[in-house]
Amino acid sequence: MNSEKRSPGEERFDKLISVLIASVAILVAITAFLQNFASNRSNQSNRTAQALAIESTNREVSGALQFSYDWQSAYQTWYEIDQQVISAEQSGDTGAAERYRALKEEIVPLSPLLTEPYFDATSNRSDTAKYISDIYLVESTRLAELYEAHSAVGRAWGDMANAFVIQITLLTVTLSLYGLSVTLKGRVRWLFVVVGSGIVVVCVLWMGLVFLQSKPRVSEAAINAYAEGVGLAYQKKFDEAIAAFDKALAAKPDYANAIYERGFTYLSMKANERAISDFLAARDAGLQTVYMQWNLGWAYYLEGRFDDAIQANNIILDSDPTVIGMRMNQGLTRLAAGDLAGARLEYDLAIQEAAHQVKEARDINQEPSASLWYYMDAASIDLQNLVDQLLGNPREWTEAPDAGFVTGDREQITGFALDQIILLKEATLTLEYTGQLPPAQEVMAVSPFAFGTITQTDEQGYVTEFDEVTDATFPRYTPSVDVQFSYTGPVPTKQIMWKVFYDGVEDASFRGLWDPDLSGSDTWYKTVGFNYTNVFVLSPGEYVVELYVDYHLVQTGTFYVLEE
């Protein structure tokens, strides 16, 4: 077997290739070093992030445990004794009142919640928001943000390491092409050299680009200010919270969470335009969350920008049509925009979806999400707020666009909203108690409620005298109010339920089933309040009383307790 002798030209080519291979080997080694460096940085950042996540969770759990003790043991004990003081005083037992007062003082040292700066002796209340903020909210938020920041750094270094791995692979291809070129003759071998060298050039350029790309950084100053802002916003110290978020954004202008939280704080301050501006900026900074989109849609609604609101809501509904709260908001927005048919469709879809979710959960012996009831209740409250605004009767808690923003026939919108409120309330009640939508059936007709005081009863306890207060307005310190009503039509066969809404929100402690035999009389009474104790009175405010018979809302009435 004779080996073919190589020409001088071929020998020169072989030598050139040897040098090129050795040079690419150096480049491979450099790339491998950079890959190792980036990979190490990525792993270290991820490890730090994991440790911070664990610490953040622990801090929150630990803080919640501490608060649970302070609130539901120390404060609760102190509060119970305080009620015993009041009860003893009301009964004229000064000795007992004195004893309980002394005992109360013995409980005070057991928790910081009962001392300054958390306890306010004037209102006899503890500032739980400040306490929670101080013992864990700010710190757990800070740790959670550090976790996010280190994770982002880890991801960036990880991406860089992956890019270097690809470059090493490409350089290996180059080495292979160079090696093959020495086995070839003629111009083809130069093609291998040129392609291989081209890959080297691409790799070197790519390496430079990877280096020049900006890496996320962990700005502790921004994170500390952000966490402080979250704590202040939690305490409803909105101006101070805005200042803290501004400080965070001065340290890190593209801090999406800080932009969003500032926007949410503006929304709480009813500065809707500023809120919208921040929500959009947060989205541009990379925050693509459901809650951000949700609040953006809500801010648009409050600002009367209904088309924008519908568009923002659709982003959520397009990705998940089963979000009931969002569907209700969409119905509300369409209604405010004067699109009654669109609103009806959205509300119908929402109620059907709620029925579906309840059925699905109960079929497998589970319960639907607690938020379902919250959103069902919130939907009727939002409609009521819109009605109050349109009727020129906004309350302190009303959250609805200015009446001037609402387009379409206001009377029709109000009528639609009032009907829809009844549908929603009945659907919520039946779904909660039976898992079904309300049955179509005839129910008794109830006269408008009369509010007043039962002044006399007979030996059997039947009411013989009732003193009606015609304007349904009661003085401060009223312990309870009696409701008088009469009815016609069929007696209830399934259920009678009372609900009471205090200042727009249901006070579930008043919710109760009622089981008198209504066939005995056509006029009945129900007491709302605390006539069974000498400790509590009705707080000043608006009370809306609702009566449901066989899951149908048959009557609603309102009474007021004055501040002074």
Partner: protein
Amino acid sequence: MQQKHDHFKSNMAILVALVTILGAMAACRATVASSNASDADFEGVSAAIKAQKAEIVNEISAYEHNRAYTSYVRYLGLGSLLYDEGAKSDPASFESQWKELWGLADTMKIYFFRPRYVNLENGLYDIQRELDEERADDAQFNDLNPQPHFDRSDSLRWRSAILTADLIVFAIAFWLLTLAQIIENRLKYFLAALGVLTALAGTLTALLAGVWS
């Protein structure tokens, strides 16, 4: 002369092969170090999880004890106030009540909190002392400190970085020896010497990386 020339080329070829093997060994050790660093990270995170789990369990228990202590203070205080009240007027008037209340206070003390942690000077339940003692107890039987693992991981990653950087040194040695092999003039001896020295430096670094870490 031709024979001497071939001999030099053969030696260079052997050296190039040797440098390649040394480079491969450095790469192998770097990979092992990197893998061990990841294992140490995992052990560290595992220790951190165990520590937090122990802490939460201890806190639940300690706050339950503190709740019982609060009831104890209430029963004891009210019993004492009734006792004092009775002592002032008719000692038998509240006797059944303060006896019942003191009995309840003792129930709390005997069954539901640890009296050892009651600070006798200020009358408060020293929850921090209970937590610290429980933590010390747990640490005797479990690995709850992630830091030594994280320190070891950092050290291994440093070794891995040094060994990977060493690949560049071996690649330079490889380049010099390749050049020495193909050059026909006296410069080839200089390049060969430089290549050998570079390879030795790389070997020394690889050995030291193991010792330092």
